[in-house]
């Protein structure tokens, strides 16, 4: 049988052998823990503690600040030292709850429940209360994702175990080490969608994970394991839905519009913890790797611990590395400081001794078409980048620039080493902002007009 996949994509250096055999270890929490109030898409969370408060591990620090938002809990016990702006891995500043860890690991009371005893509403409530968000990086609040308009139309719940980003091995370790919990997590989600089947979608460069999940799900009628072709960006939301269901969606659609729900491996693990164990999201799994790390490792971390501690736990840096990346090499953020907290969406600390990109010489486009061949969205990146460079947003829009998922495949492919993804990203931001502005103006005008009619 042909391995399921999508058209386009690239085959970058994988780098996973550095850490794939490393069993997950627990990283001790820092003395000072930082909990940014924006750890998901949508409104920032609203703090419910104040400076000087004593908090327990698992205690709510901030509640959702809107419908699309998420709760944030303390991963340690201690005292709230401050609520102040702190720098994030992405470079921006964000209001954060800072806690002085007392090291006692005193916990609040957790309330486990069996799946049979819970109604759909109770499941969603527990996911929401547990502060679960998409942990593959996008950070969409999971409770919102699991409550689509027409739940009966969902026929595919996909656990995204593609882990297509080079170097990352944390999802792989999660599947090998916590496979049972993942099956339970998927069963929780399936209870919400009566007509759905569950799929563990895993790239075929992880045969051990495929075999392990197959063994665990043997005889389960509603759960399948789907091996996917190893290709970047196979784990993108749109590309993995295409591979598993054959359906395509565009930037204006949600997975639910084509009957699919996609959740990353670690998210499903957190769903299991929140719903069945009653434990909110306080930990996640990350990979610390790259040629700039002495002992590449996979580790479970308390959210709020700093990247610097994670690096120290992996034996420290080799020499003086030039580049530190939060996330994978394709879509991760380059960091300018390691004294930033690990958050719900942090999947990896990648350290490069030499920064290969800074040594590249950009040259002229030769129209070779490799960027287009590698684009999972069937776009023409070189032309989009040209539109961006000359500020021609109308042509950018006409060439479907908004469909870009910013996966980086075009820049990776370009023999002339042009920063295509960067140019396209910047034009996308501008165009999205313009469209938003235009929409708001139109709305204001319509309101004014409506008012006039009523007044007249």
């Amino acid at each position: 049988m042909r391995k399921r996949t999508f058209k386009g994509g690239i085959h970058p250096f994988e780098g996973k052998e550095l850490s794939r055999e490393q069993k997950t270890v627990m990283l001790p929490a820092d003395e000072e823990m930082v909990f940014p109030l924006s750890q998901s898409i949508g409104a920032p969370s609203k703090p419910v503690v104040a400076k000087g408060d004593h908090v327990l591990r698992g205690q709510l620090l901030a509640e959702p600040g809107g419908f699309v938002s998420s709760a944030i809990h303390s991963s340690v016990s201690g005292t709230v030292r401050a609520i102040e702006p702190r720098t994030l891995a992405t470079g921006g500043k964000c209001m954060s709850v800072v806690i002085e860890n007392d090291g006692k690991e005193e916990e609040t009371e957790f309330h486990p429940a069996s799946l049979e005893s819970l109604t759909k509403e109770e499941i969603l409530r527990r996911v929401c209360d547990g502060g679960v968000v998409g942990m593959g990086g996008a950070g969409f609040p999971t409770a919102v994702k699991l409550a689509p308009k027409n739940p009966e139309k969902i026929d595919a719940v996909i656990v995204n175990g593609a882990e297509c980003e080079p170097y990352l091995t944390s999802d792989f370790r999660r599947m090998l080490e916590d496979g049972e919990a993942l099956v339970q997590g998927l069963q929780v989600i399936l209870k919400l969608f009566d007509s759905a089947k569950g799929y563990f979608a895993i790239e075929d460069n992880k045969p051990e994970a495929i075999a392990h999940m197959r063994k665990l799900t043997e005889g389960m009628e509603r759960i399948r394991v789907v091996p996917l072709k190893t290709k970047y960006p196979q784990g993108g939301e749109r590309t993995i839905i295409k591979a598993v269901t054959g359906r395509e969606l565009n930037s204006k659609m949600l997975p639910a519009d084509v009957g699919a729900i996609v959740d990353n491996v670690d998210t499903v693990y957190s769903i299991k913890r929140a719903v069945l164990d009653g434990m909110p999201l306080m930990e996640r799994i990350i990979t610390v790797t790259g040629d700039g790390v002495k002992e590449p490792k996979n580790m479970r971390v308390h959210l709020g611990t700093s990247y610097a501690s994670a690096l120290k736990a992996a034996g420290g840096a080799v020499g003086t590395p030039e580049k530190f990346i939060s996330g994978g090499p394709m879509m991760g953020f380059a960091m300018y400081s390691l004294d930033v907290p690990l958050v719900k969406g942090s999947s990896c600390l990648l350290v490069f001794e030499k920064d290969p990109v800074s040594r590249l010489q950009e040259s002229a486009c030769i129209n070779c078409g490799r960027c287009a061949a590698g684009c999972p969205e069937r776009l023409l990146p070189a032309r989009l980048a040209d539109c961006s460079a000359r500020g021609d947003l109308a042509s950018f829009d006409r060439l479907h620039g908004l469909e870009c998922v910013e996966c980086g495949s075009c820049s990776w492919s370009c023999p002339a080493k042009r920063p295509l993804t960067q140019l396209i990203k910047s034009a996308r931001r501008q165009l999205l902002a313009e469209k938003k502005k235009a929409a708001m103006q139109a709305k204001a005008q319509a309101a004014e007009k409506g008012g006039q009619i009523r007044n007249g």
Binding site: P329, A334, I366, G369, R378
Partner: protein, 323 residues
């Protein structure tokens, strides 16, 4: 501590560069070039060396003179030099060849902005420039010491049967008269397979080009329709293989979309058929390709692919609701 490099994603790149692609093209042209040297002897070798050297030098001097970054190390000028040498008879006076090289690099490539900006294939434009300027020298073919007609000239409708015959085997192997690099279909195919296997070129342009040409010749060649032998000779003779695999596939002067590549190849195949069957000269590949080059911007505009998950905009309905 805070002296890290910060840049936008992605944080690593494929090892491929423009230079590595050009080196692959040079390597793929090597079998045909070597066969040309074997077939035509030292004059062919001299012209290949001179042509490459003049192209590289012309680009270097121009860029130095214009105070632009020197880009000869990307190998594209060397490719142009080799291609032009493979597109001329081994008897062409060296001065004329040098004129062609300078025309290719300065007029066609650099004056339009250098690599990536030329709208015609430089080597082919230079070949056409030489054909128009020096028709006798460009079409006087000598093989094994005697002047001879090329296989295509012999096949040309209305050609004098007394001009001789050439076997299909000789045409395939390349032991015939012609330009330095075009005679051996076999050597060219070896290079083409290499380029296809390395994914430096897509199959679309050569397949559409050769396919369209073959279908038209098979069904519509004046006096030779349904003549398989004639078709095979037309395919192996002249510059078709060299043109379809190595010149029509030039990235800069061919479309960047999958559908565009098919249209472009089919257009070149159609024009080659017209020029060869009804034109004044026996060969038509060069003109067919550079003419198709001119239409590339239009083809690229018309063949923008529909993006992943494309749905037709539901404009009318939404507008109706609002109204």
């Amino acid at each position: 501590m805070d002296e890290f490099n910060v840049s936008a994603n992605p944080h690593f790149r494929s090892p491929m560069t423009t230079g590595s692609i050009m080196r692959d093209v040079l390597l793929a042209l090597t079998p045909a070039a070597l066969f040309g040297i074997y077939n035509f002897g030292a004059p062919a070798l001299i012209r290949i060396v001179v042509s490459i050297a003049v192209c590289v030098l012309a680009e270097y001097l121009f860029q130095r003179g214009m105070k632009r970054p020197v880009t000869v190390s990307d190998g594209s000028a060397a490719v142009t030099g080799l291609l032009l040498a493979m597109n001329i008879p081994s008897t062409l006076p060296i001065a004329m060849l040098i004129a062609g090289d300078v025309f290719a690099i300065i007029i066609v490539k650099q004056l339009f902005g250098g690599i990536g900006q030329n709208f015609m294939n430089p080597a082919l434009a230079a070949r056409c420039f030489l054909l128009i300027s020096f028709p006798a020298a460009m079409t006087g073919f000598v093989y094994n010491g005697v002047s001879s007609a090329t296989p295509l000239a012999i096949l040309k409708p209305g050609a004098d049967a007394a001009e001789g015959t050439v076997s299909l085997a000789a045409e395939f192997l390349g032991t015939t008269g012609g330009t330095i690099g075009e005679t051996s279909a076999l050597a060219l195919l070896i290079g083409a397979v290499y380029l296809l296997a390395r994914r430096e070129i897509s199959w679309r342009i050569p397949a559409a080009y050769i396919g369209t040409f073959a279908i038209l010749v098979f069904f519509l060649a004046p006096g030779h329709s349904f003549d398989a032998l004639y078709l095979a000779e037309e395919l192996c003779g002249g510059g078709l293989m060299l043109g379809a695999f190595f010149m029509a596939t030039d990235y800069v002067t061919s479309p960047d979309t999958p559908a565009g590549k098919l249209i472009f190849g089919a257009l070149a195949g159609f024009l080659t058929f017209i020029f060869r069957m009804f034109g004044g000269s026996a060969e038509g590949v060069s003109y067919a390709i550079i003419f198709s080059n001119l239409l590339v911007p239009l083809i690229e505009r018309a063949t923008v692919p529909k993006p992943f998950g494309y749905r037709k905009p539901e404009k009318t309905e939404a507008a109706g609701k609002e109204a």
